[in-house]
Symmetry: C4
């Protein structure tokens, strides 16, 4: 039943199809351009150990950003999964998401050229968090303002989905980066608690207001 | 009814589908390549303020060009929305649009390396305006010469759409850049008046010759 | 009738669809990367005339290559228009076409960094001609060996299409470059005559063995 | 019959369609970016021989990597050919495949900047082999864990397909590179024997457990 609904969802609007092609293109280019900043280190002695010594920071930043863009792509897929029509508001908000994605290679290069004690972690984290917020607003606009998500769910379900889209990327990425960077314990714990609360709320909403609950 | 028409519009011609994939690819690459010119400033001290001081011009040019390419993509989407077939003329004119888009990253780098009193603003503006003209000609060719826009509208409607496609990008971008650059007031006012006249004409044509008016 | 056939042609094989997405992606990236070699000239004085003086060679090479890739894309579209299935042979030959396209930005940079009396024109021309040959072989393989072009045409029609695909890009591009470069008259005339013979043969074949002639 | 099955396979899930667009985008960009490292040699005298002398290593590495990415794309196409749904596990494993593809241009530049006696061959080979393993795991997950391959085949058939996907890229690429690099004979022979055993097992499985055998 659900599968059948998906099938129908995307087929009414060539404008939405093109928006998704365009967005997938931007994601694919940004994720591949991450590797364009990887250069053979000057005076490389040819050994694997030498490469790792000189480039582990670059390769680490590449790996983190690759995962981040991958996760954001998946969030983007979910966000547009049940959208039925192109609307200008969604287009404009989605443009902010794409701007965040297009800036990821730049933010990644900040990350590994970060001087000691610099703000690069914070800038990188802010970019991921803001991209998440833009994604959340795109979903929120589609669900509440333009009302183009079908089948339409209970407002509480839509609100929890909006909250997940908005806050997850920043929280997850923050947790990872802070854990890697040995941040003060209370910040890491604070983030983990927020994340747990967010997921609990989503699960609660799904139980209480989800299709199964409503049907029952 | 309208939605149904859209659905049919795109499905007759694989050639047109490929033209749209190809065009979306060029748009997506150009918009993402904008960020490739963003570099970590030499001797960056690691602070956010330091980054902004050194790079605000680059980031500003990035933001403007991102918005411009986004808007031109949306105009491109509208231009091809009701086209029913691939024709060679549309392909050739569309190639000029794509050339304009592909040159945007270069024009953006001119914009922020602009020496004092240089022509970079004018060159950038001309590129946007010419891309708009190429887009307008593409639509005009499709609507008047090849006659592949369906449902076919009154000639006055097609003419006003052609005028909008042709002049809007240049006028809007010019207005923004001039306002940012504190241009002489009379130029800004002149552009705003032209824009108002253009939109009024479009609204008038839609009322007088649009589908509703004809049906009445 | 013909339109209906097109519609059917592409819908049987997701493998062929993906091959076309992949190819369109390579074409779109190569055509956009042409502009990545355009740089603001060192010590630019900010004027349009200064930019043209310093960069007209680069901009000219960009324009020629943009047109060449556009034309080759259109030939690629025609080549695959009536293909019905993915076959490994077509995939491998198409890979050679894509390699030629991916090398175009490199060949373009050879073109404008060409020292006096160098071979850059010849290298560029050979690349375009070889890409055309690869395209022709792709079509020839599909039409004669794999036999996946539908509706199947008379062998003479297929042969003339194969010849056009193979020789046109090299002949046209050669004619343009040689005319621009003030080549010896007899070479230009030779190329023009070959081109005329080729087109005449195609028109003759279409009249004698085309669908209309066969039906009559 | 088989063709009809393909047709159905891909049409249930827009999520899977977007995953394939996204992946094709990454493949297309990586294969085109290979050529971005090709530069006009310093002090080029303009002759073809001069270009070849200075750049044959770069052009050779470009050709090998182009073929490798092409072959991996084809393996990716086969891997997803009969998949019916998007699943998160497939998405995550596919992300590792894409990371391997995105790193190919970097590995290629290692290959031709390889100092004498360096590990670049081994690093390059490991990357190709690991990408193959990731591809194999993607297929294995889809076939055995998520069970989204239709029509479902005998476990032995799925296992042999998984083994082919996993080991082929590394074996083939290793064989080529070692043959080119004049490796000790016993290594080349060892690889060739492994390859032969792998293919024999696949052929045996197809005969014994394939659709024809089961139907008989």
């Amino acid at each position: 039943m659900t599968d059948h609904t998906h099938e129908i969802a995307h087929q009414g609007d060539p404008g939405l199809d093109r928006l998704l092609f365009f967005s997938d293109g931007v994601f694919a280019i940004a994720i591949t351009l991450l590797s364009i900043e990887l250069h053979v280190p000057h005076g490389w002695d040819g050994s694997f150990a030498g490469l790792m010594n000189a480039s582990w920071k670059m390769l680490g930043a590449f790996a983190i950003s690759f995962a981040v863009i991958g996760v954001l792509w998946n969030a983007h897929r979910r966000c547009f999964l049940k959208m039925t029509r192109f609307t200008s508001g969604v287009f404009v908000l989605n443009l902010f998401v794409l701007a965040g994605i297009a800036l990821m290679p730049f933010a990644t290069s900040l990350l590994y050229e970060n001087p000691h004690g610099g703000d690069a972690f914070l800038i990188y984290l802010s970019l991921v968090a803001l991209t998440g917020v833009a994604q959340g607003l795109t979903y929120g606009y589609a669900a509440f303002v333009a009302d183009v998500i079908r089948p339409r769910q209970h407002a509480m379900m839509r609100f929890s989905a909006f909250l997940m889209q908005t806050l997850m990327p920043g929280l997850c990425c923050g947790l990872t980066l802070l854990a890697l960077g040995r941040a003060p314990l209370w910040i890491v714990i604070g983030l983990a608690v927020s994340l747990t609360l967010l997921i609990s709320f989503r699960v609660f909403a799904a139980k209480r207001f989800g299709p199964a609950a409503v049907a029952a």
